[in-house]
Symmetry: D4
Subunit: 248 residues, 8 copies
């Protein structure tokens, strides 16, 4: 129900074409589907621009299948994140063309084409070990219709690798930096570009990295401006936000 429909709905309430009881029911139906263990937010696409994404971690295979079944009744693309292969196999039973990306741990079901963006998102990682998180961001951005340029393994220990790829980074509309350990990549990139930089700390590292805390703090305290941060290993969040910005 978009803004215009909402206006008509309210007018109908006012002139009695819709009774208050029916109005209550309708609003209930329009807004979400209730599966008991989950309330699928049908209203979401209209409200925030994208359909709900399934965060699979902590859900049973049965629950995920229930949610996917319901979403399949609509003409939307479906994205599941932090999915195990077992979850994927469950989904595949009810949807043969579901695709699994082992690295990104995503399940993707495509039902409609999204017009690709003319501008692109630059996706930069410090190392090879950061790629799984980066790929989660890439899959997310791509299913939402964005073009993504991957620039992997250009961390500051060999900073010439970054400078060599600076052009493609600078021409992006928005940049995602993905780095573990000390996450210095973000500050260096932030100091070289005039576009928003979304920093994703990863849990790559050991010891005093404290599972990504070091990179997280590093990015939050970046001396470069134009940088903001999402949760540790949150590739999805970065891809989602980059998509919003890329389409502004």
């Amino acid at each position: 129900m978009n803004s215009k429909e909402m206006e008509n709905f309210l007018k109908n309430i006012k002139n009695g074409d819709i009774s208050i009881e029916d109005g209550m029911d309708k609003l209930k139906d329009l807004s979400y589907s209730d599966l008991g263990f989950a309330k699928i937010d049908n209203h979401r696409e209209l409200r925030v621009g994208y359909p709900e994404v399934i965060y699979c971690e902590g859900k049973t295979v049965k629950q995920i299948k229930g949610i996917v079944s319901l979403m399949l009744t609509k003409d939307i693309n479906i994205l599941g994140t932090r999915a195990t292969r077992v979850m994927y196999e469950g989904v595949k039973e009810i949807c043969g063309d579901a695709q699994y990306n082992e690295l990104a741990r995503t399940i993707v079901i495509r039902r409609k084409d999204v017009e690709p963006s003319s501008t692109y998102i630059a996706l930069v990682t410090g190392g090879t070990s950061d790629i799984p998180v980066a790929e989660e961001a890439a899959v997310t951005a791509e299913i939402f219709g964005n073009k993504v340029e991957r620039i992997y393994d250009v961390g500051v220990a060999g900073i010439h690798r970054l400078f060599d790829n600076l052009d493609v980074i600078r021409r992006a509309k928005v940049i995602i930096t993905v780095a573990g350990m000390e996450g210095a990549l973000t500050s260096v990139v932030g100091g070289l570009v005039d576009k928003p930089v979304i920093a994703v700390p990863t849990s790559v590292g050991y010891g005093a990295s404290f599972k990504g805390l070091a990179a997280l703090l590093s990015m939050l305290n970046s001396c470069s401006s134009g940088v903001s941060v999402v949760n540790i290993d949150n590739g999805f969040g970065a891809g989602y936000l980059a998509s919003i910005i890329n389409k502004l």
Copy 2:
């Protein structure tokens, strides 16, 4: 031994009907049963209103069976929390009608009926992944004779789902909110009701959720009043406290 019995007991000591030695023995027997590795608190129901509950984690199957055996000699309902299936199977050997709730990880043995409460507890979760903790709360509250209304998956990312269920929440005598990640649900609910809100942070989340720490701190700092907090994933504690309040 309730208050009245205690008074009589003391009078008997005074007038010599019970010798001091016998008094000592009696007090010992009344208060707890000693299994060596555990001292079952028989006095508990009189003192705090409920029989002792078995916290199974960290106990051996043999120990749990020993405790259950002893408790079975009395006419009480038995609840075991944080129980694995293996523990349950051990208990089942000595008590065929013990029931296991896989989601809530509880063992329940019913021996007497509890009059259901007229008022109810509203049990609200932010997401689907929070349900196991919520179910532990529900099982606890129910075995103590409370009516529980479940409102699951109404987190603030789709806040209309919460508003749609606000009536049932507001009519409860006490409300339990169960949420992981940033736990914002608690503050939103707290700002909309005039009943006590018991907040249960869950370990649902990743990265900077630090296994529930983010939700815990969030709930402790709630800008809404009327909110208090129990330990991370402590569904039992929330159910227990809600039961006390619901029966005031």
Copy 3:
């Protein structure tokens, strides 16, 4: 606007007695007063049962005076917490009978009598140094019309002091325990009563108390059931919640 008024209002919208535009305006006025730097929640008393309380910390004296001025136009009792003497003196300029409690750091303005509760709240502290936090709870509970019984300095280092006061604690409808250092008082009380226990960790202590963290963690991990916790030094929150429970 209470529930009944709200129903009438909606009927008036439906039958056209109130135009949508006027309805929009009315709802705006009813809900809060906008001072620019603050939006006073007039709707609060109807929604959650108590008028808004002024959290003074971080506000300028000018802002506090502006908020008090607006609230004085209504027939309500006013409570300001975490107020300095300087703030109080500012308030006194516009309200001569405002009262300041140095220990509790509260400003109180009484404008209507509240019927005292028949049941009472037991307010227990571990030590003398915990009294300021306890008094904040007491002032809060009392202005909301509750009777409070103070039992101060009965920490577990001399546990007979606690047992000696157990009767008055047990007869309360709800209990607040206020303790710093290791906060063991809460667990001991929790194991001896059948009423809800609201635990307030205080920042009393030094070194590894980490400004109340030790007491906070201790209370969250209480082995006694029926206990929940509010923020460190949050006497107000405990008094507020105790008031809700005391009036159930």
Copy 4:
């Protein structure tokens, strides 16, 4: 030296119109001015779109005056953040029209007009105590030529205040949420809009807020998508990033 100038410069090096030695010198001069204790990044505006901003904290008044003196020789607006009144008075000695914002702790010197943006930034705070941080963001965004809409004190404890202002928030191109305590405001806003949300945790709170840590973790773990986070109390960073996004 912009991109085009840089190309000419390199061609001149190639054809010998500029000797390598002269080239070296020129590059040195173009890039920054060396004051010994500070190296002013003249190249910054061309590289990242904005002139360097002076972070005053930890600098002596003499150092700040030296930096301002140098920047005054160019036709640029000057912004100093985290400035004390004493620092401001030092600056005023060398620049009579410098302006000080007590709340935001900023020094501003305007030397050229910036065309105002057609779109605007929505600046939302949870409470009154968050205003100083918000104002730092506002001053920053405004000096960079952005229109800012302030929506203050709409935290979730009285969520109707937020809904009442939702329209102006939704029409913004980018949204900044500023909140302390549990920071739940960010997740609620994030779930209601389709624009990027920049979250600023503040150190408003006490006890287990741990000087803003609770709000920070809360925002990083937001269950709403489209949200990213800057450092605690970093109004400047949020205003700067919002400006970049608003001008995309």
Copy 5:
């Protein structure tokens, strides 16, 4: 080499009966045996009163067997802590009468009798789940010749169980309290006795217990005097120290 032998040795050096070179060699031999991967501290018993104990965690089975082999050449009792069953089986190959305590995870080899102490150590646990740590303390104290009285599962949730056993606790020469969760047991015991209390926090608990941190902080901040603390789960350390004190 005890004090007397050391004096003779030095006299021999002085009068030339032992050359400096030989003296150097002798001192080397006396002090420790070098296995390359380990230097067994033969000098330890004379210096600190007890032979070296093998901390098995992090050592390979081969290394442990090497160390045990060497120690078997002397007339001493051998204690290995934090040993897995696999380690024990390795040791058993070279020492058939080695004994394994599954609960305490200790390997014990007895080669000489130790005169039992007349006084005893009271070993008190909060719950059943704390018993493994307590047993490590018991095994340690017993192999060093101490009598140990076990009082298990007397935590403060049912404090009468503690009072019922207070006599045996008070008659001890030194007391060990072993507790997880909030560890309140220590403070309660500390307030009731006039003997040294050694507190052992355990990792029993979940959520905000942070693997024993809550109990550790609780014990360090105990409001009772006469209490000191060892590392989380450090049953060995408590048993060792209690033995030293018991034999004073």
Copy 6:
């Protein structure tokens, strides 16, 4: 009331020489004096061996004077810890011979002589800056009748200073080590003696010492046995425990 008196008291209750009402009163009087803001634990000396000590931090001067006044009515030595000079001056008004130790921040009032111990406590510090904490321990131990040997500034950076004083340390009955920074002194001492070592971490240091946390963790993880730890800067606790052990 000592053990024997208690037995008589109970017999009198039994045979009616004391009525239950009088018995109740008597027990109340014997156990503590109630000042409202404080309950002085008169029973303490009989129960744990020492009279109550006044922890002055967080108490008002008026409260401290009230407590001292009450204690002065008995024939006991009085110790106040963490006292400011202002507190001392208040106490001096009611007790002219009260003594203040600026370094240790203690108030001492001597009313009876304590027989000095034959054995002594060795009090060892790592540096000069640790002396205030050590002196608090010394004052505490001395008022309880212990002989104390001070060995100051023998930290491991110049370990020969420690070895040079090893004899006097080894001859003590119990040893207190006081150290900040990394607290390595404790482990070195612990490895060289056969007596109990009480470790006091101090807040001496900066940066990653985190106000004594580094020293605290270091001491808790000591590879030497026979070591236990008290709270950061808790000189009193160490002196008190050392006194208990010294008198065993």
Copy 7:
């Protein structure tokens, strides 16, 4: 491309012998090899003195094999750290003489001899359990052509073992100390030598060692000078840095 080659290259650009386009290409080829998922830093040896080392953790076996394949085309020694046996077996398929060190978890492929250093690195551990980390340091230092003297298991619990080996430690050009638990070894060594000490905290320990945090903080706060610290368990980093210093 070393410094001299770089100068020639620039001269060729100036005189046109190399076109700008070719220059661009050449620089690209010289600096790194791009495998997509990894950018091998060929330039590294010239820049920082050593070829790139493969950090295997978080890489797939396929990725590691790809990197090794590329490096095998050059005449360099190859070092892989934090490698599992499975990774090693993958590498062995393409390089039969690759060697695996189970303890150090390293893969080594030798292709050229490195002249051994005349001076040596002293490698000291506190215990036997620290050896795996130490061996990673040793393998690293040795493949870079350094002589390493191992002094294992000389922790301060038996400090005579350290003194007995002090000569060989003091004669080293640089010293690495490897210790877990409280890491006191570093401070003791640091106070006895006049050479740089590189401290490696290890995760050996339990409870309040917090996986090496205690040792890390201890070493950072060392009261001995001349000490610096690398990440927890970072044997590689210590070996690498020691090699740089040893060759100065």
Copy 8:
């Protein structure tokens, strides 16, 4: 007493030229001077290469003067760190030519010339606010006879400032990087040089910098090799270590 003297001393003991008692005395005198509150480590210069430095924080002015008085009796340069102006004025009373560096907070007394090093230490800071810590390092290195090249304010937000000064950094024998906030400077420098890098995190920053913790963790997790870290704000430690390395 250097090595040669020590050998003679031992020979004299052997042949009786020095009695054991006299030997004991001599060793006592040679090693340190005992002031009671401090034991000045006279032996230090011979053992670790530099005379003891006075860490002034936490010492009284009287103690500092006592230590300086004693050190003035020897022909050595004196360095006091973390000294306030009040401490300096105390020292000046007994030593008129003592010099105070306000920025570095050091007291310096020069009594003998030190031959300047031919190689130099590069001292690099991220910002202007890091200069005080850097100056402490500089003063330390200089009094020990090292040449220091200062390169200030070259943080990665404007990385061309760093590249412009790379030559002077690369030609140093050892490099100190001093940076707060996210400390990324260290990793960038570490990736560009073949010399040891000593990283000093500073407490410059706010919010999630947690007083330097962010920079500390960042540096410990540096992806560049050849880097080690000292305590937050520990300019002295870095200068001291750099001096040792510079003189190898």
